[in-house]
């Protein structure tokens, strides 16, 4: 039996959300998938979601219209610890800018940066 996770997708491209939802549902990794097309509403969701008991994996796009992926990370980091419990954030981006990678490595609230398109086989070992 594979471990399952609640997934949260944050991406301003409807197309990429669709693709990632499909990948995840085919993989059998997801017990649930919730998607946001902007970081503001995702942040509002996490700010009002105490007692989160399921292990949650967030796939966060970097270049978002409005609040960027980095802005989201910074804001998420300041949330109360009880709200951040069981939540792990991975960034998903097609960036080619190496300074983005450096910023990602340095960020305390982020686990890793994954290139787009999402590769389930690369994500799996990171979740263990």
């Amino acid at each position: 039996m594979v471990n399952q996770f609640a997934f949260v997708l944050i991406d301003d491209s409807d197309l990429d959300i669709f693709i990632n939802e499909k990948f995840l549902s085919l993989s059998g990794l997801a017990s649930s998938i919730r998607s946001f097309t902007n970081a503001e509403s995702a942040l509002a969701y996490f700010s009002n979601n105490p007692k989160n008991e399921t292990e949650t994996i967030v796939l966060l796009d970097l270049q978002l219209a409005g609040m960027s992926g980095f802005d989201f990370l910074d804001a998420f980091c300041t949330l109360d610890e009880s709200l951040r419990k069981n939540i792990r954030i991975f960034m998903l981006s097609s960036t080619a800018d190496t300074s983005d990678f450096e910023r990602v490595i340095a960020h305390p609230c982020l686990e890793a940066l994954l290139p787009k398109p999402l590769d389930i086989e690369k994500l799996k070992p990171l979740l263990v």
Binding site: L15, I19, T37, Q63, A65, G66, S94, A96, D97, K116
Partner: protein
């Protein structure tokens, strides 16, 4: 040729009759400021745009070289000329060698010699100023290029990576019905179109930033009709009602390529950022044009722009909305194009109420 701007000269000397005779001799050629007080000279430097400072070496409170030393940090731009008698020649040579003084004039001074020194000094002033301006332009261009390369490579890759994702997904899918295959093909089509729009925007940007200006008489009615037609076949646009009002009196000379870029982007945005469920979608295009200037207003009743985003809309790669997300280049290019035509652009908007862009462009000279 524009008329030569008058050179501003500040002359500091403790002998009043020197000051007076200097002013009398050169006031027709230059804008002259004279004073016998070093403090007042500094005040003048603060207030006026002085290009050339002339100082006497021998003054009771301070020497000319000391005065130059003092003003150097805060007023490095004016070119410095020292007036001195032969007895001070060593001080003068030293200061020239140390780069503090551009030239010295010996007493008693000769009219043409001084004039020549001022003209030469002004050439130096102008050359330095131009060099500074070029440098800051270059710096801006480099910064833009850096940002451009990274952002553009991301925006070029994003739709490609979507296509790659779709291809991988399709390979995993075992549902071989026509309908399901068409779904994947539609997604690929969407992504490719987005990529193409981005590339067209980049070409606009390049044309706009590099091209020389081709000036000809602009026919606004024809221009607007052509742009309108080019959008007509895009699904969804047929629901938008146009209200077009063009008053053109006499020929308006400008760069039609830039005007097309401006109108194309603004009309395209007005169409793109409509409210999906609004039954009364409209675009209002108002153009008033004569031989001197044109004003253009493009108004829509679409989704509008939030107050905090309004000041950023002309920045490169800024995207305010995730609806129908654009490349963040369009309005940047519009703004650049308007400025290259020496015009002004303004935007007002109400979130969820609509947006109005107003532009004023003066006519260009026929031979550019």
């Amino acid at each position: 040729m524009t008329s030569k701007p008058k050179i501003s000269v500040l002359y500091l000397d403790d002998e009043l009759h020197n000051l007076e005779s200097f002013k009398a001799a050169y006031r027709k050629d230059y804008t002259i400021f004279i004073t016998d007080s070093p403090e007042e000279a500094e005040e003048i430097l603060k207030k006026e745009e002085i290009q050339i400072v002339i100082a006497d070496q021998r003054m009771p409170q301070i020497t000319g070289v000391e005065f130059f030393d003092k003003i150097r940090n805060h007023h490095s731009e004016p070119v410095r000329i020292l007036i001195t008698g032969y007895t001070d020649i060593k001080a003068a040579i030293d200061s020239i060698n140390r780069g503090e003084v551009f030239r010295f004039i010996d007493k008693p001074w000769d009219h043409d010699y001084v004039k020549n020194a001022i003209e030469n000094a002004y050439d130096i002033y102008r050359t330095r100023k131009e060099l500074r301006e070029r440098n800051s332009q270059l710096e801006k261009a480099y910064n833009e290029l850096d940002k451009f390369i990274y952002s553009a490579s991301h925006d070029l890759r994003a739709p490609l990576m979507s296509v790659l994702g779709i291809a991988r997904l399709a390979k995993l899918d075992t549902n071989f019905t026509r309908e399901n295959i068409d779904n994947y093909l539609d997604l690929i089509e969407q992504s490719v179109k987005k990529l193409d729009t981005f590339i067209i925007n980049i070409i606009d940007y390049y044309k706009n930033s590099r091209s020389g200006t081709e000036i000809s008489a602009v026919d606004f009615k024809q221009l607007v009709d052509e742009i309108k037609d080019s959008f007509h076949f895009i699904p969804g646009n047929e629901e938008v009602r146009y209200e077009i009002q063009i008053e053109q009196e006499g020929p308006f000379y400008s760069d039609p390529v830039k005007l097309r870029i401006i109108l194309n982007n603004l009309i395209g945005n007005a169409l793109k950022y409509q409210k999906k469920d609004n039954p009364e979608k409209f675009i209002k295009i108002t153009i008033k044009s004569n031989a001197v200037a044109s004003t253009i207003a493009i108004e829509d009743n679409g989704i509008g722009i939030g107050e905090t985003d309004l000041e950023n809309v002309f920045k490169m790669f800024f995207r305010g909305t995730s609806q129908n997300s654009g490349s963040g280049i369009g309005l940047y290019v519009v703004n650049e194009a308007v400025h290259k035509l020496n015009g002004r652009i303004n935007v007002t908007s109400v979130q969820n109420g609509g947006t109005t862009f107003s532009i004023e462009i003066p006519a260009s000279e026929k031979n550019g």
